[in-house]
């Protein structure tokens, strides 16, 4: 049986205004591609941040590679790509190569020195993602699609076993978005990288993900997209006639 990469058991997070996540239970094994969907404010990003130890968990538990998220320290196994908007100061004077090389720091101990070999690793990932030619450009001078590729290269440069993406295509045009998801799917299928993808686009989940987690503070559905299309939850959430509209692409 494949290794359990991510697990949440009755995971609950609450802030001043009340519950943001309540009793979430799911797990992902090696090679899974899980799409996380839900309306705005449903707790999708909070779930990701709780799994990454960036937000405190009130009750329940969450683990990464079998270790509690709060004390997880094998960050070289995890690649993370947040929303590109507002991610960094647009006038930040760092080159593409400098930004991508920061991804290698997770595999280093203090003082985190980058070697000539590390620079070669960076060149390899830049080449594989088709952005080697812009390695000396400043990140702020790139288009949204190029910036997202650079940040993906940063997330992939340490060869992670788990890739977490939080609405990664929010700022991209439809064509670039399609190419991006195709690339992620290849990483999942060819390299066996486990994917957790937060998105608003259920079509993407139908096309690429092996399972879907529907959140609205609570977990409303967890299973395959096919099962979701034929589930009573689907009709309850979107109405009787929604099946054709949402599932026809699948």
């Amino acid at each position: 049986m494949a290794e359990e990469i991510v697990a949440a058991n009755m995971l609950t997070c609450r802030y001043h205004e009340g519950y943001v996540l309540r009793d979430i239970t799911f797990s992902a094994r090696q090679g899974d591609y899980i799409g996380i969907v839900g309306p705005n404010g449903s707790g999708k990003s909070t779930l990701i941040q709780a799994l990454l130890g960036l937000k405190p968990v009130c009750s329940g538990s969450a683990t990464l590679f079998g270790k509690p998220c709060s004390s997880f320290d094998q960050w070289g196994k995890v690649g993370y790509l947040p929303q590109s908007l507002h991610l960094f100061n647009p006038s930040f004077p760092a080159t593409v190569a400098e930004v991508v090389s920061l991804g290698l720091l997770s595999t280093k101990k203090f003082p985190r020195r980058l070697t000539q070999h590390d620079r070669q690793i960076v060149d390899v990932i830049l080449e594989s993602l088709g952005i080697y030619d812009i390695r000396s450009k400043l990140i702020g001078e790139l288009s949204g699609g190029q910036q997202q590729r650079v940040l993906l290269a940063r997330a992939l440069v340490n060869e992670p076993e788990l890739l977490i993406l939080d609405e990664p295509t929010a700022a991209l045009d439809p064509d670039t978005r399609h190419k991006f998801y195709h690339l992620i799917s290849e990483l999942n299928q060819l390299q066996g990288i486990t994917i957790l993808l937060v998105t608003h686009d259920t079509g993407v989940i139908g096309e690429y993900a092996s399972r879907m987690l529907y959140l609205d503070t609570r977990m409303l559905f967890y299973g395959t997209f096919d099962d979701f299309c034929h589930s009573p939850e689907m009709s309850a959430l979107f109405g009787e006639h929604s099946q054709h509209l949402m599932c026809h692409r699948h």
Partner: protein
């Protein structure tokens, strides 16, 4: 008066050595502060230094000894600004404003209680680089080496957490420690720079070289180098020019930095137009 004549004076030599070292420190740290939108922390810590200098002078600690009183107070205050930002859910500028006004209030109160403002305290308001003593040069050198070694050790951690704190945390970097290191290094540099440009103008040494470098740099490392170069050169030129033309030294240094910034903006504008 020619340049060799100017350089033959002992007080000019001391000013050039200490001034260049301090300006390089401030310019390098300034790059991180400007990119984190913490530019005004220098101003806040300078106000605290004023308060702590007033404490030192009230207890009859003068010159280099006053630095030793100021350093721990300013270091603790720098951590206080961080704590206020984290715990009291305040923006950085609000926390800086609170701490700096307390610093000035303490300074004014103590100066008043201990018999009014004296020449030493006023020199911290506007800077008096030409009065730097031999002891202060040695302290500047020791702290320069300390700060440069710490910067070299933490360079990649500082770069990662300045680029994006969330991504840095997921790279296993303890961003709280890194933030504390940055503000403490800044505190050390500000205490040293007080004698150079004074409270009123200290932000210029932290902000202007970094802002100029940001206009022209083609990589992060080149940004650091350009900033350090401008900071160091502005002090050398500023000291010589002010002595030769009988101008106030700290203000001359600031104006040279301003000219460099204006020049950098113009060069960037020209380069961008050529690219288009």
């Amino acid at each position: 008066m020619n340049i060799l004549e100017i350089l033959s004076y002992g007080f000019i030599q001391r000013a050039l050595i200490a001034g260049t070292l301090i300006a390089i420190l401030c310019s390098v740290l300034g790059v991180f502060l400007v990119l984190r939108r913490l530019s005004l922390i220098g101003d806040g810590l300078a106000h605290i230094t004023f308060g702590s200098t007033a404490i030192a002078l009230a207890f009859k600690f003068y010159a280099a000894a006053s630095l030793l009183v100021s350093l721990p107070i300013v270091l603790l205050s720098s951590l206080g600004i961080l704590k206020l930002t984290e715990k009291a859910r305040l923006n950085g500028d609000t926390a800086i404003g609170i701490v700096s006004s307390v610093g000035i209030a303490v300074g004014i109160t103590l100066a008043s209680v201990s018999g009014g403002y004296n020449v030493d305290l006023l020199s911290y308001l506007f800077g008096n680089i030409l009065s730097i003593s031999q002891e202060e040069v040695w302290i500047a050198l020791a702290l320069f080496i300390l700060v440069i070694v710490l910067l070299a050790l933490f360079f990649n951690d500082l770069l990662a957490s300045t680029f994006n704190e969330e991504l840095a945390k997921i790279s296993g970097i303890n961003t709280r420690v890194i933030n504390a290191v940055l503000v403490m290094l800044t505190a050390l540099s500000v205490v040293l720079a007080m004698k150079l440009v004074g409270i009123m103008l200290i932000s210029s040494l932290l902000i202007l070289p970094a802002a100029s470098a940001q206009q022209l740099a083609r990589s992060f490392r080149s940004c650091i180098l350009l900033s350090a170069l401008q900071g160091g050169l502005s002090v050398v030129i500023g000291i010589c020019l002010s002595f030769a033309a009988n101008l106030p030294t700290s203000a001359t240094i600031v104006l040279i930095n301003l000219l460099c910034f204006a020049g950098s903006c113009m060069i960037r504008h020209v380069l961008q137009n050529n690219d288009n």
